[in-house]
Amino acid sequence: MAPRLKINGLSKFFPGVRALDDVSMSVEAGEIRALLGENGAGKSTLGKIVAGVYSRDQGTVLVDGAEIGTLDEKAAGDLGIGIVHQEGSLVPQLSVAENIFAGRQPTQWLGQVNVRAMREQAKALIAQLGVAIDPALKVSVLSPAQAQIVEIAKALSRDLRVLILDEPTAALTLTETGKLFDVVRRLAGNGVSVIYVSHRLAEIFSLCHSVTVLKDGRLAGTRQVAETSTDELIRLMVGRDVHFSRSATGRKIGEIVLEAQDLDAPPLVRSASIIVRAGEIVCLAGLIGSGRSEFCEAIFGARRRHGGQIRIGGTAIDPKGPWDGKHAGIGMVPEDRKAAGLFLGMDIVNNVAATVLSRVSSGANFSNRKAEALARNFVDELRIATPSVRQIVGNLSGGNQQKVLLAKWLAMEPRLLIVDEPTRGVDVGARSEIYRLLRALADKGVALLVVSSDLPEVLALADRIVVMAEGRTVGELPGDGASEEQVLRLATRYTASVAEVRKQPDMAEA
């Protein structure tokens, strides 16, 4: 029998880049195939070509043995190829049902949308995935995980043969990820072929049957998951061995830089405290929604604070906005680098200069010369791969964007640098470079507060680990010798006890 999906010699060119070069692979019905590779390796491009979002420049695509000519989004839909995009394709203002049947709503007389039939069909589709979401709800009120499920239901609303998932767990918590995996396994059990694009090796080992690795747009190899190892996959991705080991630097830890006490910023932060010393890397761990980012924002002044004290170097501060935090010597690299961090349409020079406009000026005049010199320094120091400092930041790869974002905050020479998810969406190679940079900063005496959901990252980086749960700082571990289990136990135990208290509100009141 012919494979469900067969790709032969696929190539795709973008101006100046060969995104895919002679890639071939084949996927059987019911197979879950991971597509792995560094950022810019071409895995998303491959997914988008199969889903008809991009056209191919060379090569053939066969579905169930039949060669496909033009493959655009409509043709792909008719063939039963569905894609769940990284960015999401739902309209938040419309209902779940409306989104699932976008443009193909069941109608009654005079072309009116048959709302009742639409909702019933939507409900049935969602039920097939083993979950319950009210189809009348607006998408804007759903959690990211529920929205993912709706996206899948949308793909499922047509006779689905191939489902492409592009980094589906980026915004999901652990439990939600588990639920999503159940849905994916159920689909595969029904004979749907799944192409699963991801960075996360652990997910691939727990979910997928086989894995295809791309490197620089070329096929680096295909393996059965049962017959491969993390080390082998990383080797295939980067062409070298990479270790995230703790470096025993014997760093000198100095005086207290940040002391935050009983910070209160409802609804997500209630009584959180932390101390960070010069030359120390403190990682803030916790489950998604535990208030870590919000705690940091409150320290920086980007979130309104209702109570608590903040001291920087012993002096109390009361930041009313990010400018106050900056003035006190705090830098904050936000979690969402595209939406909140970078000026994607501007070049590296301007991005780096954004926090230090007065330093790159002579009097009132903005000095292009000074700004360029500053940017050039950082491009060299952080090894940002770019043809020139005038490159538009939106054109850089994820890892290099992250470095530009770091450079933007290093430029102001902060005493305390808060880094929220330093390596989200960054490939393995750039990841270890960012770790090197953060350690080098701490060596120079900068106090570092790092928020991370990636436990191996926390364990590799932290001198001290502070765990948050339900908006409170609930525990602390030394970075050396801590285990993932210890961190998770702290992060979840508190949640469980709060849940118990909530079950009996009367008693809690009393």
Partner: protein, 336 residues
């Protein structure tokens, strides 16, 4: 398949003919595109109508007529770089002119104070716009659409049918002309604004912050830029410029007309977008904006001289606008 990418690219470059290269070059700089269009249009008009177009009186009329739009474009460009805009400028202009008229004409105060009050009224209108947008958080389109009708209505309430005549001393502010070219003061005021404003926006770090705000307001905020405060200042500057344009307009006619500046906001925004601003913000220059104004003024003048008729004017301006903006698709440095 065997050719490496850079080689293939050069080969492709070579195949591009001259026309494509010119288009790319023009697409990269809106200022250059407009400059070429303005020169070509002026040369063509000079050759075809040597007796009507390149005359001192015609030039004087063109430059004087574009003055109010030119002043407003400076403020509008600043706002649009910051990712916002102001639709109420025409009403602000009339309201300010009328107040200057009331102060000088009805109350008989000195002309200097009248000019000052007119500009202050404009700045105040801008302040209100800015507060509505930044403090209450109403979208600029809706906020200034609201104040557009409010300010116009307040203009009627203040002066009924207008103030005519105002006073000779006041009129002098709009009529004084230089001895050499004999162009009246509104043009010179505009010229100074364009030169000073052009330098401020292009070169100073204070105004440079608007590019960051327009580029990504959240990132700008988190970079420690006081986004709301700057946008508020932008609106106040816009209002003050509209006030100045209104005062000088009223002075030139020695009459504060309640219908002054009706529809001027769209002319201003057209010139601003033609000059390289984007509705998303983050791009544009004052130089581009003023070239946009100049180009539209020349088109209008050409239409009047060759008697094609005023009715066709909008068609031509609209087509040129769409053409200029579609050139962006050929930008070499643009994002994919």
């Amino acid at each position: 398949m065997q050719i490496t990418q850079p080689l293939a690219e050069t080969a492709e470059r070579r195949r591009e003919n001259l026309f494509v290269r010119i288009v790319r070059r023009l697409a990269d700089s809106r200022e250059l595109t407009l400059f070429v269009l303005v020169v070509v249009l002026a040369l063509a008009m000079s050759i075809v109508y040597p007796n009507n177009f390149p005359t001192a009186s015609n030039m004087r009329a063109v430059l004087l007529n574009l003055a109010p739009v030119g002043m407003l474009v400076c403020g509008m460009m600043l706002l649009m770089i910051g990712g916002t805009f102001d639709l109420s400028v025409g009403s602000t202009l009339a309201f300010s002119g009328v107040w200057a008229g009331v102060v000088a004409g009805w109350w008989g105060w000195s002309a200097e104070i009248a000019v000052l009050i007119g500009i202050l009224v404009g700045a105040l209108c801008g302040l209100v716009n800015g507060l509505i947008v930044t403090r209450i958080g109403i979208n600029a389109l809706i906020a200034t659409l609201g104040t557009l009708t409010i300010y116009r209505s307040l203009t009627y309430v203040t002066a009924g049918t207008g103030v005519t005549p105002i006073s000779d001393a006041f009129a002098e502010y709009g009529r004084a002309a230089d001895p050499l070219f004999r162009i009246q003061s509104p043009f010179w005021a505009m010229l100074v604004l364009v030169l000073v404003g052009g330098w401020l926006v292009a070169r100073t770090r204070f105004f440079r912050q608007f590019y960051f705000i327009g580029g990504n307001p959240r990132a700008a905020q988190l970079s420690g830029i006081r986004v709301d405060r700057l946008i508020l200042i932008g609106f106040v500057i816009m209002g003050a410029l509209a006030g100045l344009a209104g005062v000088l307009g009223a002075a030139r006619l020695n009459s504060a007309v309640v219908n002054a500046g009706v529809g001027i906001e769209l002319k201003v925004i057209t010139a601003t977008v033609l000059g390289g601003a984007s509705l998303k913000g983050g791009e544009g220059t004052i130089l581009g904006g003023i070239l946009g104004v100049l180009f539209i003024a020349l088109i209008e003048n050409a239409m009047i001289i060759n008697a094609i008729g005023v009715f066709w004017q909008g068609l031509v301006v609209g087509l040129v606008l769409l053409f200029a903006v579609s050139l962006d698709r050929f930008k070499t440095s643009g994002r994919a």
